[in-house]
Symmetry: C2
Subunit: 293 residues, 2 copies
């Protein structure tokens, strides 16, 4: 009998990554493709997951006929929304079995090599997970409309808001404000049009400007980062209160926030022992082991 194939999927708003290996650990392939955001487009997400999976399998000389022996661990942003999870469960996928968790939960599995611990994802959005045995406690990660405090989308949007306030003579001007308005040729109406259509990742494009500004002592940038940091520190503190022995910081803003954390938190920050795809593969392994019904 052929051995099972494990498929690890890390799917988020900007891209979908897949790593495939045999149950005995032999690597098969790894590929990357477009968005797997089940919140904004479930059909597109499933399409991308499958096409990236096929690509990863093809790297190891495997094809369509092997999908049926795949055990897929799917880490998907939005999987914590019950209606989406239900909708997802009802859709056919050609895999032998599948298990679904949020992208944050599989990232936590990966960062701690499937052992206990906690993570903070500080990227376009923000999300926090504390694992104790089989229990995963999620904090934040509720999406841009009501959550994501301190994430790149949040910082970038705050910069645009500050630019409008300055434009209206209400808020303070600064070099950051000038740089932001310059991106719209100084035209506030164009900034507003951008803001009305922007996705979190589009707002996030301004986050580096904000972080750089804060490093350079720009007062508006410092105020925006201070507010983001306040939220990040509150969430990290909550993870420690839940008993987390160490917290791994992940995401594009991890390196920007880490030196800003108070000294009391620094000793608890750990290094990742694996990535989200390792975590998704660990989830897939629970299927192949028969540990999970």
């Amino acid at each position: 009998m052929q051995q099972p194939i494990l498929i690890g999927v890390d799917g988020g708003g900007s891209r979908c990554r897949v790593r495939a290996r045999f149950a005995d650990g032999t690597p098969i392939g790894e590929a990357e493709g477009g968005s797997a955001n089940i919140f904004s487009d479930l059909d597109l997400a499933l399409h991308n997951i499958l096409s990236v999976t096929r690509e990863a399998l093809a790297q190891g000389g495997l094809g369509e006929e092997d999908l049926g022996r795949c055990h897929a661990g799917l880490g998907l942003a939005g999987a914590n929304i019950p209606s989406l999870a239900e909708e997802l469960a009802s859709r056919p996928l050609p895999f032998a079995r599948r298990a679904i968790e949020t992208d944050a939960v599989v990232a936590c599995r990966g960062a701690h090599a499937d052992a206990d611990g906690a993570i903070a994802i500080l990227g376009t959005g923000t999300a926090y997970v504390r694992r104790t045995g089989k229990n995963f406690t999620s904090i934040g990660g509720w999406g841009f409309a009501l959550s994501d405090q301190g994430g790149g989308g949040y910082l970038g949007r705050a910069a645009l808001v500050a630019a409008l306030l300055a434009h209206d003579g209400i808020g303070p001007a600064s070099e950051l404000i000038r740089l932001v308005l310059d991106r719209f040729d100084g035209d506030a109406a164009r900034l507003v049009e951008f803001g009305g259509e922007a996705r979190p990742v589009d707002f996030g494009g301004f986050a580096p400007l904000v972080m750089d500004g804060a490093d350079d002592g720009d007062p508006v940038a410092m105020a925006i980062v201070a507010e983001g940091l306040f939220h990040v520190v509150a969430a990290l503190t909550r993870l420690l209160a839940l008993g987390a022995p160490s917290i791994v910081l992940l995401g594009g803003l991890a390196a920007r926030y880490r030196p800003r954390l108070p000294a009391t938190l620094q000793p608890y920050i750990g290094e990742a022992r694996g990535d989200a795809l390792d975590g998704a593969l660990a989830l897939a392994a629970t299927l192949a082991d028969g540990k999970r019904p």
Copy 2:
């Protein structure tokens, strides 16, 4: 020759109102209908404007053949967005002439009987206008994504954000939080689903809870209202700095904010001498007078 008809339109996200009168002041009729939000649906907005206009004309026994002698003053939310204004200008309307300003500008005309002054619209959104002669200076009113600080949508969304933070053990709990979560049967995921689809007016449905909570000393509600008030006071102060002799507060939250304003601002708060439809008619009159090309 038949005398011109003046049509005043006040169009916003939740409804469109029209008042019709003859150029000599004789009333014709007044009607109300669905949304005239050119930002979200220009075709629907134009359709509603025309059907409500027909209804107002019909009240005075006028009909389709009279549209051609109508001079329409349109006060429309979103008219300050250049791309929308262009699109709107390119669409045919059966009126003799038309002039378009934002809903906030016509409200300022109306509140001060077409004389100089300033207004603050404190409704689902917030917007401020200072008029000096032919110059209208707008502050805020850039829409929910980046502006509207202190408005009902803003306060309501802040309450949902606070409820999620409390749910996650990060933010403080309070009676307000309990009332908000109760609306979703205590299910944070349902709150998130609501928040992901909610329009500003949907978030605004929670604003009365927030204002009532602040009146009752609820600490979370007080913090949310204090932040909104900070923005309102900053904008009112800016209007005074621009030389406004008095400011009329309009919108559903005007009565809730007024007693909260600092004593230094109270002497500048005035009473409205007319409504937004009066202002739209004053705009229409500039067309009939031939004052405006």
